[in-house]
């Protein structure tokens, strides 16, 4: 059996409109831009340090930045050309980082280091994952070589491949399933082999029946009684793909607050990450390109584009075309994506969508008083009391914030989405978490 139907009950969640307009749009390759901007921070962890100088010639697939820190990942160049400068850029979320500016010569010469890695042992495998520059492509950007090498590796019994894609609009993982399903499965087999894990669950929301059919067809051909690969269709409910919710729905296990999936003997990998890893092992081409869903009410023709990492957003928007003035520009989906301040930022490794919303999709509605309807409480997947947290924050009561387990909040935004009074609940909880971080 390649489809497993037992779903463990999870609470809360909301049903935002799917808006997966680009689901059937075959990925379009965007030509490499004239200039790429490569920030030193494209992952969770320590920023990288450039390994090239201004004036150096670089080629496709060459490492241009790396770090010796444990939690970090090398960064590669996606074009051939010359490093023309460095500049400080302000990333979404308010952090600043240094970035390399590389001018392309348009020739696309591939660097001599790009060749399939020799992988025989577990250590070779982890070294290869690191050399690929792979980070969690679902959005968080956690370095993959760290994720695949937890302290309790011998206790890990389940790998969950996250293809839930619960954010509205985004279809990049769905396209990966439809276009490169064999890459996914061969990546899954490799990971199973080197980590010695016997069970892999590929989790997909039920609103993607074609992906479920495709994945279960090939999962059935590789699944054995000793190494089980199953596809698990999950209810289409946001935030089904959030790591903790996903693990609970697939296995019934609950990751403790502040803990990692490895604490409940699971590893969660994004589906595109697995496919990228599989392609790297075959070709040696590291992570230099990313599929982006470009959509939103201001976009002329919503589509999935494959772009070189470091391509400025302005170029991506020019490529797909706009039909209306952009009021809000988002990296990621509308539920957890970050609003951008300008179009100068480049596409990063962990980006999976670029949404250009017109005026009508970016309303500025004034909040009214809380009527205690409890919709935020019903919507919270973490079983918190969002409205009580906001009240404790306004009262400046840090003890009460602790009692309400404020740090458990994963900022999915279900509370704000569901609030009929349009109160900025999750936004207030973010500030409450800052209060708790500062009193610690």
């Amino acid at each position: 059996m390649s489809i497993s139907t037992l779903i463990h009950k999870t609470r809360g969640g909301v049903h935002p409109p799917h808006r997966k307009h680009t689901a059937e749009c075959e990925t379009v390759q965007m030509p490499a831009p004239k200039t790429v901007i490569i920030p030193m921070l494209q992952h969770l962890g320590a920023p990288c340090i450039p390994t090239v100088k201004v004036g150096d010639t670089v080629e496709v697939g060459q490492v241009v930045a790396d770090s010796e820190a444990a939690i970090s990942a090398p960064i590669h160049c996606g074009v051939s050309g010359t490093v023309v400068g460095t500049k400080e850029i302000l990333l979404q979320g308010g952090r600043t980082t240094m970035a390399l500016v590389i001018e392309s010569d348009g020739e696309g010469r591939v660097h001599s280091s790009v060749k399939p890695p020799v992988v025989n042992t577990f250590d070779d495998f982890i070294a290869a994952v690191r050399a690929c520059g792979l980070v969690g492509l679902g959005g968080a950007g956690f370095p993959m070589h760290v994720k695949l090498n937890p302290k309790n590796l011998d206790e890990i019994d389940t790998i969950i491949i996250n293809a839930a894609e619960c954010e509205p609009y985004i279809t990049t993982d769905y396209r990966e399933c439809m276009e490169n399903s064999w890459d996914i499965v061969s990546g899954v087999q490799t990971v199973m082999e080197f980590l010695g894990v016997k069970q892999v669950i590929i989790a997909v929301e039920r609103n993607k029946p074609a992906a479920i059919a495709e994945l279960s067809r090939i999962a059935a051909s590789v699944s054995t009684s000793a190494n089980r690969v199953t596809v698990k269709p999950l209810p289409a409910r946001y935030p089904q793909g959030a790591e903790k919710v996903l693990i609970a729905a697939c296995t019934g296990r609950r990751v403790p607050t502040g803990g990692l999936p490895a604490d409940v003997n699971c590893i969660v990998m994004n589906v595109t990450s697995v496919a990228v890893l599989s392609r790297y092992l075959k070709t040696g081409m590291p992570l230099i390109e990313k599929r982006l869903t470009v959509d939103g009410s201001a976009v002329e023709k919503p589509m999935n584009v494959r772009v070189v990492i470091g391509t400025p957003i302005r170029d991506v928007l020019d490529f797909v075309g706009l039909k209306k003035p952009v009021r809000k520009l988002l990296f990621g989906g509308p539920m957890m994506g970050q609003a951008l301040m300008n179009e100068d930022l480049p596409v990063l490794k962990q980006n999976n969508a670029l949404l250009a919303l017109a005026e009508e999709d970016a309303p500025d509605v004034a909040a009214t008083t809380c009527i205690r309807c409890g919709r935020c409480v019903d919507a919270c997947p973490m079983n918190l009391l969002p409205t009580a947290i906001t009240k404790a924050y306004k009262a400046g009561n840090a003890d009460e914030l602790k009692r309400l387990c404020t740090m458990t909040c994963m900022e999915c935004g279900c509370c704000t989405f569901a609030c009929p009074a349009h109160r900025p609940i999750v936004q207030t909880i973010r500030m409450a978490k800052d209060v708790l971080r500062s009193v610690k």
Partner: protein, 316 residues
Amino acid sequence: MENTLMVSSSPHLHCGMNTRDIMRDVIIALIPSLIASVWLFGFRALAVEVVCVAAALASEYLSRKVMKRPQTVGDLSCIVTGLLLAFNLPVTVPLWQAALGSVVAIVVAKQMFGGLGQNFVNPALVGRVVLMGSFPDAMNNWVTPLAWTGQADAVSGATPLAMLATDAAAEIDPLSLLFGLRGGCLGETCAAALLLGGVYLVIRHVISPLIPTIYIGTVFVLTWILGANPVVHILSGGLMIGAIFMATDYATCPINKWGKVVYAVGCGALTVLIRLYGSLPEGVSFAIVIMNILTPLIERLTRPRPFGEGRKAVRS
């Protein structure tokens, strides 16, 4: 275009519902009972309802104005309060008393505590309780339904609960109770119309079915155990309107699931205790008001255990 980009913290999507939509749904759910009240008690019922709603609207508007607060008449919540109060009055109530009840409900119980969502007891129930204390005669004058058509005796007296208290229980027909053919307040007698509204509210996700079902269920079970007639008890008095429309008031009922359960059981138990052992024939208003006051305490004692807290990760 650089300067026109709007930056805000996620989420960037909203369900699209607002407070006014919720209040409009509650008003829609009250319409069957409104029609039933006019059918049962004649056009004076409509007069009482119009006076209560008008007084509630005026009180809301003026108190916000006097307090120099943002105007909130538009959220329609005062219309709900006015209607619910009217539904809790007998048809013969003097109109000025009906208006006074609305003023007390809106000004004293609601606006003086900060307006919508801030009141600690249900405003309409405060209005009713104040009127019952101030004008007991006018508030206990029950007219036989359909008397206004001339087909039934205009003289009347006892409500089913009063009859139960005086051992006249055998005369009560449950089916006539279901359609409201009994003495009582304007909106409370026709259980069928109230249930229709309740089903609408549950389907529209305005209220959770927990409170009404557990409240009514508790009354049914307890009266049965204590030897009374459970069917007559759940169809009599203000239980239906109380359980569906008053006990479910957002501001004054617990916000979490187990809190709602405890609260509803408490409402049911108090209602039965007052009905069977108290000196009053009816106890719904007082039961709900008492449980309203206990709501913060119930919430504190029934806090949900957040995901991944407490016991270490639960294995399947």
